[in-house]
Amino acid sequence: MSRYRLFALFDNFAEAREAIIELKVMDLREGGVEEMRMKSPIPHPELEEVIGARPVFVQRFTFIGAVLGAIGGFLLTAGLSQATFTVQPQGGKAIIPFPTDLVIIYEGTILLGVLATVLGFFLGAKLLRRGGTLYSSKVSEDQVGLWVEVLDSHYDKVKTMLWSHKANEVMEEEVP
């Protein structure tokens, strides 16, 4: 069964939200909506009140990165200073002095923590991928877009519904 993607632009979040609620209601009642995305110029965390909580996994990346950074920082200082100073301590200081370890562990934690966060963000947000052709520069300006993938059977219904919610424009494409 072929599927279609529809993309409607609304003047503001409140209107888009109405449409989302109705889509959601329709989907719960009779199915037919494969996937739904909102494209907005600003973040709308309140959307989750409508579509339900969605998990974010960035924190896990951060945590793993930070732990690896801490371990790496210690190995770097301890390992490398031992590798260099095979012979003797310097200036009455130990080969693996605690203050140094602390500083480098601290910085290592942060560095790898940040890098892992960025990685987690890229993966989690599915950046660096083609986002499809259904997009309008209006979304980055002031309008809220609703991207929805529907089954053939519901195509007309959803389209009418989108227009009925005062959509400024509805774009569409067939899923290849």
Binding site: L80, Q82, Q88, Q90, G92, I95
Partner: protein, 284 residues
């Protein structure tokens, strides 16, 4: 190799690094010095000898005035101004006092841990070594040296020896180029030669076998140099006599004959050079 060293030496390395630790119980050698200020006449012969021995560049009057002199050893003059008080009644004006000052080869050298590339480190025979080739010239060591005996090559002097003076350069040590820190080594090239010769003959370096350039040239024999690990050496005996030992600062002087002190020892630098205080008329 790195990992192997790490595993092998873990226990030996995780030391507090204080004097008195296993590491600092030096094996055969721990070079030390005694300078008797009583006999020092401030003649600068030691300074000249150091220039000749260690390929020190002569920087010229103008640069010397700017504080760019490269004298590893210097005679510091301090003037006793004549203010009469209870201790100095008869002869308030005492003139100049001399302190020959060079690298004190500290056991807890403040210059060592601050070097970003580990160009300066502590050798097993108790010297504070400077690896010229490794130095990148951050000059942190000189800032952290309380004696200010580290000398930086602010300019390149390698080409400035007028011919035929370059013929008199000591072939045993390098000529340093610009951007490198240098300092007194206790004439490490002489120590190295003496140690090698002794090793070939399966013995230790005898006391008095090796002299530093400054010691050799001192007309009043104010400088005494030797092995502190050897309890029978002159230096060791002098240290014992003046109740001077590593790990203790501000040694209590029980008798007036105990004149030993180490420069700025309250900073916990553990210098290897003991000075013997000059005896003044009011002390008697």
């Amino acid at each position: 190799m790195t990992v192997k060293r790490m595993i092998e030496n873990w226990s030996a390395f995780r030391k507090s690094g204080q004097v008195g630790d296993e590491y600092y119980d030096h094996k055969d050698y721990r070079w030390g010095m005694v300078i008797d200020l009583n006999t020092c006449i401030g003649c600068n012969a030691c300074v000249t000898a150091c220039y000749a021995e260690n390929n020190l560049p002569v920087v010229g009057k103008e640069r010397f005035g700017r504080g760019l002199g490269m004298h590893w050893m210097r005679i510091e003059r301090y003037w006793q101004t004549g203010e009469a008080d209870e201790t100095r009644t008869r002869y308030p004006e005492q003139g100049a006092q001399y302190t020959p000052m060079m690298c004190q080869q500290c056991e807890h050298a403040p210059c060592e841990p601050v070097c970003p590339v580990a160009a300066t480190y502590h050798t097993p025979d108790g010297l504070n070594a400077q690896v010229y080739n490794r130095c990148v010239g951050s000059r942190y060591c000189s800032n952290n040296c309380p004696y200010k005996v580290r000398y930086f090559n602010f300019y390149s002097y390698t080409e400035t020896w007028p011919s035929p003076l370059e013929q008199q350069l000591n072939p045993d040590i390098s000529v340093r180029d610009k951007g490198v820190m240098e300092k007194c080594t206790f004439c490490v090239q002489r120590l190295r030669r003496a140690k090698n010769e002794a090793k070939n003959e399966h013995r230790l370096v005898n006391d008095g076998e090796v002299q530093t350039a400054c010691q050799q040239s001192c007309p009043t024999q104010a400088i005494m140099f030797g092995n502190l690990s050897d309890a029978e050496s002159r230096v060791s005996k002098s240290w014992q006599k003046h109740k001077m030992e590593f790990g203790h600062h501000e040694n209590k002087k029980q008798q007036t004959t105990q004149r030993g002190y180490r420069a700025l020892e309250e900073l916990n630098t553990e210098p290897s050079v003991m000075y013997l205080e000059r005896v003044r008329d009011e002390d008697i």
